[in-house]
């Protein structure tokens, strides 16, 4: 794991001091709200419905135990004892006072955490595969490149006032757990036939009002040229991205308007003019960062564990957990454990301070002091010994964190929606809770299999409804909450944008409609086919008929 050195720490301290000064000037009336708003947003501080909300970055989704405990302390001391994990590997505190924000940032900085660039029209927190360094699928450790980009993008002098926000995701595995294809830039690491590391560069994906699966503008960017190429992409965007209309200002609109080929050509032209010796990271620094991630002290263990097998045989709940939440690890005798924050009835992505502390302890004792956050709003203990799985499971169970539903229908992504968010048109959380309740029977949920339901409370699509197998979008119809369903999206390596099912439904009909869709799926699926694959095979018609015939 990368540890901040004195220089990184001084940087955070300086940033915190700067913000303290800005808050003081705002409170003293020296800065107007119009002047202050972009400044607080650059530190992730929003004014929401009930209070300020502070969005803290978890760069590439990686935390250690000390950091997780500090988040718990902040939740307890400055919030109401909980935090909300987002679809971009951040954590949000919902009940923050402006006057407390500088102290909170100081306390975060003490453990190398910050809120830098978690909002604003700049390069946002870089997200990465939460299984990085643990999965056998990856061709390289994406955290290395994420940390390279974190440093490069931090208070970038040229790219901090872009036309609009800018999000980068990185994965190095064929199975995409980052939604790379719906980011402003998605980077997929690959090795050439001769083993040379490079990135497929996907630019101009995105969700919101105008969803796009991003086109690939470079098939194999030599890894060492990453920063100069990013500089070229960002420069073309900064100069030519639209600034006249906030809804058309993302890079996806520029890429779509020019066409991927022309956009790619302009990037190449700009890239050719950049002096790589100045713009690319020196190999020595790359080696330093790589070294920090290469030191995970794995033990040599047998591939199977008698304890693990015996417990699976003896305890059906544990066996279910093992089936759904335990994923293969690159080292024999280890596993990746996904901790669900989607217990039925819970707010998706919320964790209490107590739960954060439990997970921090488990990470410290059983996962090499490593904890991850997923874009699906769950947590990951990436390096757990098979022998330790039963005790980890028992501890999670005790904390209400052992729900065995990863990627099942009740593992729902939901934004905070109108319960908290000033931009929302409708609530998302209660809808998620109603739908999850339909799949409370774990046998039934497993029978249904992989089903990604994602809910957004407005068109901004923080809940990723465009790339859901079943997407739910809250809309405001004459002051009432209505929900538009869409089917067939995916944010993974087979990315696609969901298609609208039909007219929006009132709040109390949504869970029922999802139920109907799943019934239809079960009646037409072939073999072990996922919901998404069935939809792709049979199309919209049977689902549409089922829901709207049922509703009338």
């Amino acid at each position: 794991m990368y540890l901040y050195d004195a220089l990184d720490k001084e940087f955070l301290a300086d940033r915190s001091a700067e913000f303290r000064g800005q808050v003081a000037r705002r409170l003293a009336g020296e800065l107007s709200e119009d002047q202050f708003k972009p400044l607080r947003l650059m530190n992730g501080l929003y004014l929401q419905l009930h209070a300020y909300m502070l969005r803290v970055a978890i760069p590439y989704g990686s935390l250690n135990a000390v950091q997780a405990r500090r988040l718990a302390e902040i939740a307890r001391r400055y919030d109401k004892g909980y935090g909300h994990f987002t679809t971009r590997q951040n954590i949000q505190f919902n009940w923050i006072k402006l006057a407390d924000a500088p102290d909170i940032l100081d306390q975060l900085a003490e453990v190398d955490l910050h809120a830098i660039q978690t909002s604003g029209n700049c390069i946002r927190n870089v997200t990465a595969d939460p299984y990085a360094g643990a999965t056998a699928e990856e061709v390289d450790d994406p955290r290395v490149w994420s940390e390279v980009i974190r440093q490069w993008s931090t208070l970038h002098p040229e790219f901090s006032f872009l036309p609009r926000k800018f999000k980068i995701a990185i994965t190095a595995a064929p199975k995409d757990r980052t939604a790379a294809r719906v980011h402003d830039i998605g980077l997929v690491a690959r090795r050439d036939r001769d083993g040379t590391l490079g990135f497929e560069v996907i630019v101009g994906g995105g969700q919101g009002r105008t969803p796009y699966v991003g086109p690939t503008i470079k098939e194999h960017l030599p890894a060492g040229r990453l920063l100069s190429y990013l500089e070229a992409v960002l420069r073309v965007y900064n100069r030519h991205g639209r600034r006249d209309n906030i809804y058309k200002a993302r890079i996806k609109i520029l890429v779509a308007a020019l066409g991927a080929e022309e956009f790619g050509r302009q990037v190449e032209e700009e890239w050719a003019k950049i002096d790589g010796a100045r713009a690319d990271l020196p190999d020595t620094e790359l080696a330093r960062i790589r070294g920090a991630f290469a030191t995970t002290p794995f033990e040599t263990l047998p591939a199977t564990s008698a304890i693990f097998e015996a417990n699976k045989a003896a305890d059906p709940a544990f066996a279910r957990f093992a089936r759904n939440n335990v994923k293969p690890h690159k080292k024999s005798g280890y596993a990746v454990v996904v901790v669900s924050l989607k217990a039925v009835g819970q707010t998706p992505g919320d964790a209490t301070a107590d739960q954060l502390e439990v997970v921090a302890d488990l990470a410290e004792r059983y996962s090499l002091n490593d904890l991850r956050v997923t874009h699906a709003q769950n947590l990951v203990l990436p390096h757990v010994k098979l022998d330790d799985l039963p005790v980890v499971h028992a501890a999670l169970q005790k904390a209400g964190l052992a729900t065995a539903n990863i990627d099942l229908a009740s593992d729902i992504i939901a934004c905070p929606g109108l319960d908290y968010c000033a931009l929302a048109n409708a609530r998302a959380i209660p809808v998620a809770q109603h739908i999850a309740a339909k799949f409370a029977d774990a046998d039934y949920a497993e029978k249904v299999g992989e089903l990604k339901i994602k809910i957004s409370g407005c068109i901004n699509a923080c809940g990723h409804h465009h790339v859901a197998h079943i997407g739910v979008l809250g809309v405001d119809k004459k002051g009432e909450e209505f929900y538009q369903l869409s089917l067939g999206g995916s944010g993974a390596e087979d990315a696609s944008i969901a298609q609208i099912l039909g007219p929006a439904l009132p709040a109390d009909k949504v869970a029922e409609a999802v139920d109907t869709l799943v019934d239809k799926y079960l009646s037409v699926r072939e073999g072990e086919e996922r919901f998404l694959d069935t939809f792709r095979r049979v199309g919209m018609a049977p689902f549409k008929e089922a829901v709207y015939a049922d509703a009338h």
């Binding site: 705002r26 409170l27 003293a28 009336g29 107007s32 709200e33 004014l47 929401q48 419905l49 009930h50 209070a51 300020y52 109401k80 919902n94 009940w95 923050i96 006072k97 402006l98 006057a99 707010t347 109108l418 319960d419 908290y420 929302a424 409708a426 609530r427 959380i429 209660p430 809770q433 405001d476 004459k478 002051g479 009432e480 909450e481 009132p506 709040a507 109390d508 009909k509």
Partner: protein, 119 residues
């Protein structure tokens, strides 16, 4: 009928205008039946950038159980998040809070969609 609302600068708390003061309870808010005094209150609020952020008028109606903001959003601001019933203003409980919660229930239930309409 209208009420003036804003968020308090220092902590973001939802506040309502009451005779020159900013109060925390919707039930205590001053009710404006005429446009002019409400707009005057907003203007005063705009002159208090060290106290509150972005004052604006909201529509309120008689909902059957008492006065309530017309829009769902404003009802949530006046109460707190519906997923955490012990958080925010609703934690206080009491008749006025219950009336607001009831109003929101009425607004949502199917078949009575026209009961409360946003202008």
């Amino acid at each position: 009928m209208k009420v003036v609302t804003a968020n308090r600068l220092i902590d973001g708390e939802v506040v309502f205008w009451k005779a020159g003061q900013w109060v925390e309870r919707f039930a205590d808010a001053e009710l404006f039946t005429e446009a002019e005094p409400g707009e005057a209150a907003v203007a005063v609020g705009k002159g208090q950038p060290k106290v509150i952020v972005e004052p604006y008028l909201i529509d309120v109606v008689e909902s059957g159980s008492g006065l309530a903001p017309v829009s769902y959003r404003e009802r949530i601001r006046a109460l707190g998040p519906t997923n955490e019933p012990t958080h925010g203003k609703q934690a206080e409980g009491g008749a006025a809070i219950e009336a607001l919660q009831h109003a929101s229930g009425a607004a949502r239930s199917s078949g009575r969609l026209d009961l409360i309409r946003r202008k």
